[in-house]
């Protein structure tokens, strides 16, 4: 290992990074754009579902019932329609996702103190919307039943009933349950992985494309020097970029990590080295930059889908839960949500640190061996 050769490579890499717009865009542009896109558009909590109402009853109590839907904020009454067909057309055309159909005898029966029914027609093409509509529609109806029952009892001259059960929930960490608190920490990991893998893969593949790798192979440069010379500048770039992502998250969404930043960075290092190792592995296989980009996206997919970034792992079939255990992002997500949202540190997250370190050592070793073979 020659420090002079390693220093020459690192210096050259840094000059190239400074001159290359694609790399700069990767480091600076991606955190901002991704945070904006995912943070705002990918809203995991569904509310204000577009709803049409077909009120055949046309009474005060039916209108009150419809208003209760609106007041819940889960539904937005976009229009009152005058036939069942019109309601169906509104759903077919996408104008509404839900139609509330109130039958003609709704008002009479509520006043008479008899069991009444209304119909909720739900567009099931987006299951998460449908689920929210069913669940919150049920709650609205239940609450309204309570109101109606009280009114009926009052009219009958009875006092308000006593007893019953009241549930008092306490939501920890993210009491307002805003989805950015769920999305943004995960995004930091996705952005970091994408940058680390792509920067490293591109840095090597570019030399292969331009023929400079051939020149280096004939020179006294050792594979380990070349590999370190490629990886070390990216460690710095990625850590700076992660800092930038955290800053953007703070400015745009007011998300300030509850836990220690030092712990966060310590826990980030093994994940970063694992990702850089994946980048090296890609650079051994990819013949050109386009291929390197495709392969990077391919490695990103399981990290997005199976790690729990978008969907809770608990809801996945057992086989996918098992596969998720072999994806570093699964552990890094627990780190990010742990430190940023819950405010815990290494004392809790050391198993994740161990898992990430194991992965990093494995992938780096394999990459170095394969890298050495292609260089020699």
């Amino acid at each position: 290992m020659s420090w002079a050769r390693l220093a020459a490579i690192i210096r050259k890499e840094l000059i190239q990074v400074r001159r290359d717009r694609l790399t700069l865009a990767l480091v600076v542009g991606i955190p901002v754009v991704e945070l904006l896109m995912f943070g705002y558009a990918l809203n995991a909590v569904t509310d204000h579902i577009a709803t049409v109402v077909y009120d055949e009853s046309g009474t005060a109590s039916s209108r009150e019932f419809a208003r209760a839907f609106e007041n819940s904020t889960y539904f937005s009454l976009v229009r009152w329609v005058s036939s069942r067909d019109e309601a169906m057309r509104a759903i077919d055309s996408g104008e509404a996702k839900v139609a509330l159909v109130i039958p003609p005898d709704f008002g009479d029966r509520t006043i008479a103190g008899r069991l009444t029914s209304a119909q909720l027609i739900v567009d099931g093409s987006d299951p998460s919307v449908a689920q929210t509509a069913l669940f919150s529609g049920g709650l609205v109806a239940q609450a309204q039943s309570g109101v109606v029952t009280l009114e009926t009892l009052a009219r009958a001259g009875a006092g308000a009933p006593r007893g019953g059960i009241e549930l008092r929930p306490v939501v920890l960490y993210n009491p307002r349950m805003v989805s950015v608190m769920f999305m943004v920490p995960g995004l930091i990991g996705i952005i970091l992985q994408m940058q680390a893998v792509l920067l490293t893969a591109l840095a090597v593949v570019r030399e292969r494309e331009r023929g400079t790798l051939e020149q280096l192979i004939v020179s006294p440069v050792r594979p380990a020097e070349l590999m370190l010379g490629k990886v070390l500048p990216n460690v710095v770039l990625c850590l700076v970029s992660t800092g930038l992502t955290l800053l953007v998250a703070r400015v745009l969404f007011g998300i300030v990590p509850r836990g220690s930043l030092l712990d966060l960075y310590v826990l980030t290092l093994p994940f970063l080295f694992g990702s850089l190792g994946i980048g090296l592995a890609i650079s051994v296989v990819a013949r050109n930059q386009a291929q390197a980009l495709q392969m990077t996206m391919f490695t990103l997919l399981p990290s997005i889908l199976l790690s729990g970034f978008l969907y809770a792992r608990e809801g996945m079939p057992a086989i996918f839960q098992a596969i998720g255990l072999f994806i570093p992002m699964t552990y890094y997500l627990q780190v990010l949500r742990g430190v940023i949202v819950k405010g815990v540190g290494l004392e809790v997250l050391w198993p994740q640190f161990a898992a990430l370190s194991l992965f990093a050592v494995l992938v780096m070793t394999v990459s170095l061996v394969r890298f050495r073979k292609t260089i020699e």
């Binding site: 020459a8 050259k12 190239q16 331009r210 280096l216 004939v218 020179s219 006294p220």
Partner: protein, 320 residues
């Protein structure tokens, strides 16, 4: 290191060098020596085994059979020692196009561990040699082909290697730049640097002190350019001009003692094993071509090359 003392005046010495890729033999039983301070050309068409040979000599590809030393070091066992002492320039010029002229030179100086004290003076020297004064801060990618070529040469010799490998060094460069380049190469050779160049340009091989011809991985000839011209043709070469060169070509194909006839522009090159200019002109007159005119000419390397290749291809058709 007995080989060093035994071959002290040899920069390269290979015996029976062979490289197989699966069933294909890229280089077959090649043996030659290159003297220190010599400009040595390796001439052959694309795919003939030139690059495979050069890669074995640089210590980045192990031979399947045979032995070789480069600057006294064994090519199979001491590649690291070889890599530190050779310069290598490929046809792709292998520059970092997003680095400036000076940054490229500095990078290669770092890679070859040129001492810091020596660095600035060495880079100035190379910039001057390549005629790049005033362009040190220019991005290498913006240089024209000739400039790039000279910068690549500067990068290849930044550590003053005693042996320089040039792989197709002037591919895609204009004739004036090519001439300038060879002037620089001869200057290096005069200062004691051994140069090993591969090329498929015949005129370029004439810059070399000795030329080895390789075809299908086999070394077919090794001689000075002058020897090639005088001794390697079996017979005498005549240039024949006529107003009807195509008809003359047909006629001369039936000439007694003919070895080869081919068309060069609007003239014919006729190689005969016996007879002279008068016999050729007489044959043309008999066939009704009155203006046929034959003169003895000195063969170019191309004539020799084609003649050697035909000779090599004929036995190749029979089972080996």
């Amino acid at each position: 290191m007995t080989s060093v003392s035994a071959n002290g005046d040899l920069a390269i010495s290979v015996r029976g060098l062979t490289r197989r890729f699966g069933d294909r033999t890229a280089v077959s039983d090649v043996s030659f020596d290159v003297l220190r301070g010599e400009v040595f050309a390796f001439l052959g068409p694309n795919g003939s085994g030139k690059s495979t040979t050069i890669r074995m000599l640089c210590g980045i590809l192990e031979p399947s059979a045979g032995t070789g030393t480069v600057l006294g070091y064994d090519i199979a066992r001491q590649p690291e020692q070889i890599k530190q002492r050779i310069g290598y320039m490929s046809q792709r010029f292998s520059l970092y196009e997003d680095l400036t002229v000076r940054e490229n030179l500095e990078f290669y100086a770092g890679i070859y561990e040129v001492p810091r004290a020596d660095l600035a003076a060495r880079i100035d020297e190379l910039v001057a040699m390549a005629g790049l004064n005033g362009r040190e801060r220019q991005i290498a990618g913006q240089l024209s082909g000739g400039w790039k070529q000279r910068l690549a040469l500067g990068c290849a010799i930044v550590h003053r290697p005693p042996l320089l490998f040039l792989d197709e060094p002037t591919a895609g460069v204009d004739p004036v730049s090519r001439r300038d380049f060879w002037t620089m190469i001869h200057g290096l050779a005069a200062s004691g640097v051994t140069v090993f160049a591969t090329t498929h340009y015949l005129d370029e091989a004439e810059h070399a002190a000795r030329v080895a011809m390789i075809h299908d991985g086999v070394l077919t000839a090794l001689a000075t350019p002058a020897e090639f011209k005088s001794g390697f043709l079996r017979g005498h070469l005549f240039g024949v001009t006529s107003a009807a060169p195509l008809r003359a070509l047909d006629v001369l194909r039936g000439l007694p003692g003919l070895v080869d006839v081919s068309l060069y522009g609007d003239a014919l090159h006729v190689l005969v094993s016996s007879g002279g200019a008068a016999d050729i002109e007489a044959a043309l007159t008999v066939a009704g071509i009155e203006d046929g005119h034959a003169v003895p000419i000195a063969p170019s390397l191309e004539d020799v090359f084609i003649s050697l290749m035909r000779r090599h291809q004929d036995p190749a058709e029979q089972p080996r």
